[in-house]
Symmetry: C2
Subunit: 123 residues, 2 copies
């Protein structure tokens, strides 16, 4: 497994799903998962997806600028650190954001998102 | 232990040390530590501090905008996600940055930096 390839595939999958149907992100999270969204902490797959689905815009587009990854320690996880631009439908200017994911392996040989921290980078 | 208090204390200690004597950051890292600095991966305390000490500026000042933290999973670590501005000596304009740390507990009851990912957020 090439961690860079895995993290890039994850990032592409995550943001494509976010931009087309946010509700489908549910199966990337589990009950132990935690999202910190602009400082607000939300735990559990259902709560996280409810938060994301309820964001006050219908459509958006993430453009990724950088993806960095590192192995996350003794239990086989992976840290993925993303920066990019977010454009909301009807808005001319995009918003810069940074986001990190802590991916953990599943028994099925895939990964789930244990930790997710998102911040807009205001100018 | 209040994770928010620990992460804020860590962040204050880290950037104060960075801005006054970068060489003193060595004891926050171990041989297993990894830094990704603007896409470049560096492993081990000595190599990391050599990289930081060799950055092409003498003095700088980090101003922190946000600090988020989450427990990092089964082995007692902590994820810390920082955004802020970096001002280099002699420069009028500051640079926006994002940085994440994966802190792991030490047998002495403190933490060391296992993972460190740093990115400037270009406008």
């Amino acid at each position: 497994m090439d961690p860079d390839a895995v993290s890039k595939a994850f990032v592409e999958h995550y943001y494509t799903t976010f931009d087309t149907n946010r509700g489908n992100l549910a199966n990337l999270y589990q009950e132990s998962s935690m999202l910190t969204f602009e400082g607000e902490k939300i735990q559990g797959s259902q709560n996280i997806v409810a938060k994301l689905a309820g964001l006050p815009f219908q459509q958006c587009k993430h453009n990724i600028t950088t993806v960095d990854c590192q192995p996350s320690g003794p239990v086989g996880g992976m840290l993925v650190f993303v920066s990019g631009n977010l454009t909301l439908a009807g808005e001319q200017h995009s918003l810069k954001f940074s986001q990190m994911f802590h991916l953990m392996p599943t028994p099925q040989g895939s990964f789930f998102v244990l930790n997710d921290i998102f911040r807009l980078n205001y100018a």
